[in-house]
Amino acid sequence: MKIRLIKDKVIGTGMLTFSILAVSMVLLIGIGLYWRSLPILQHHSIWELISSSTWRPLKGEFGFLSFIMGTLWVTGMSIAIAVPLCLLVAIYLSEYAPIRFKNFFLPLVNILAGIPPVIYGVWGVFFIVPLVQHYIAPSFVDFSTGFTVLSGGIVLAVMIFPLIVSIIVEVLQTIPKELKEASLSLGATKWETIKKVILKKAMPGIIAAIVLAISRAFGETIAVLMVCGNVPISPKSIFDPAYPLPALLANNFGEMMSVPLYDAALMFSAFSLFVIILIFNIISRVILQKIEVKNA
């Protein structure tokens, strides 16, 4: 009898240790990256690093501004494309479409989520970049290589489609049916009900989905690296190339060892990516957990 209880306790303690270790990964990653970026923080203030746009590692000048701007432009572009589209898709799937179409369409979107980033990159290089270069850009600017903020934004938008659609569909499912019926019985059309009742009620969830999508777009590396052009100058229009932070990190990691502080500078960029994405994720997950608890 006793052996059973001891076994239960021992295994429980073992699993608790595993759980604590796994959970503390968040902390460990933060501390690890901060520790590796300390050397640069001792030489330059954070403000100096993020407000300067001179990037001359060989002379010890590390200004991240153009990379930060690159990231913001590309992320903004992708959100501007993806959010309206996905919102419409999610509303259609949960309010208008026949249930059979919904059951057919959502797994398709799921496949999109499974496709590796590098495949998106290949697609971007072969399909989106020429599209932008030959068909979209010429009507707005004189010359463009196609490797632009716009191309990066489109590719990223497609990458975050599944995330936004699936979360918003789930959020819309939690809206009580009575609310909808009450509005419809008062004579509102279906669209008016959606606009004035459902969307209002679903707003926190939609915002959570968008915040989550922003953080996903923020950290995406290889696809963006392949289609954005990687010119370390702040973009001024969507037809300019951009050089987002993750791309900087990926491009220079191998060769950084010989230049002093370069390594720490790159780790600092990884650390800032981590902190920003961490904050965004916590915000949206807390909102989503609240919605879930309310409806459980």
Binding site: M15, G114, F127, A250
Partner: protein, 280 residues
């Protein structure tokens, strides 16, 4: 009155257009990869390692990268399962649902799930520097393991939550310890474990940013944990950067191979999930 109807009609049309666009993007991606990759796909691609001068258009294949990817993703999935299964059993079976640690842990895994792979790569790289491990198969496995743990825990979590509560109550009321109950849970969630394995493997095979600095690259098939290993996505990335059309073509062919592998994995895991949903 008419304005209201018109507005609805316009938005409905917009919705259908958006749905078509989103659906179309999937077919465009797969279509592009198939059309570009198929002409370059041959048996050598998946049965040979690169010969000398392969990257200048000479003969050879991508077997080194395919094997490397399978080693890294497989190793990481195995290691990840070894950690994730106890964690999710502990959080759901040992702890009560309202437990603060359980809720905090679930939030942490949700957050970890959102951390991009480049950050995992950078972290694993600094860990390797600290431990004195060079870019190798081992490094790649470590990085990808970190990456897949949150995916596995979240997937298992979703499956365990759907095990009927009565089962837990019945087992406990018969006097079983929590560990004995956990063993019964294992039996209930076997299909879910397989889903988690598939998802983690798929993510591991497809990821570049985490293995870029941790696994290195090599033209040979690694025979020990300390040798550098090539991975398929990284091979695609390198080859696409080449100015030689033949090499670029091989990048497309490699992309096609990777896409097929991923599609098989996704379809299998979707079928598994659907089967489970129908049962419950």
């Amino acid at each position: 009155m008419r304005k209201r109807k018109l507005e609805e009609a316009i938005f409905k049309a917009l919705m259908i257009v958006s749905t078509v666009l989103v659906g179309l993007s999937l077919f465009l991606i797969i279509g592009t990869i198939v059309v570009k990759g198929l002409p370059f796909l041959d048996w050598d691609m998946i049965s040979k390692i690169p010969d000398g001068g392969y990257y200048f258009g000479r003969s050879g294949g991508m077997l080194n990268a395919i094997i490397g990817s399978i080693y890294i993703a497989g190793g990481a999935t195995l290691l990840g399962m070894f950690i994730s299964l106890p964690v999710s059993i502990y959080l759901n079976v040992y702890l009560k649902k309202a437990n603060h640690f359980a809720r905090f842990a679930k939030l942490s895994f949700d957050v970890l799930f959102g951390i991009p792979s480049i950050v995992y790569g950078a972290f694993a790289f600094s860990l390797m520097v600290y431990l004195g491990v060079r870019a190798s198969l081992l490094g790649g496995v470590i990085a990808v393991t970190l990456l897949v743990i949150p995916i596995m825990v979240r997937t298992l979590d979703e499956v365990i939550v759907h095990v009927p509560k009565e089962l837990k109550e019945a087992t406990l009321s018969l006097g079983a310890t929590r560990w004995e109950m956990a063993k019964i849970y294992f039996r209930q969630i076997r299909a879910g474990v397989l889903t988690a394995v598939l998802l983690a493997f798929g993510r591991g095979v497809g990821d570049v940013a985490a293995v870029m600095f941790t696994a290195g690259f090599s033209d040979n098939i690694p025979v020990s944990l300390h040798e550098p290993a090539a991975t398929l996505p990284l091979a695609i990335f390198f080859q696409l950067g080449s100015p030689i059309p033949e090499v670029q073509g091989r990048a497309y062919a490699s992309a096609l191979i990777l896409t097929i592998v991923i599609l098989i994995i996704v379809v299998f895991s979707t079928l598994l999930t659907n089967k489970r949903r129908k049962k419950s």
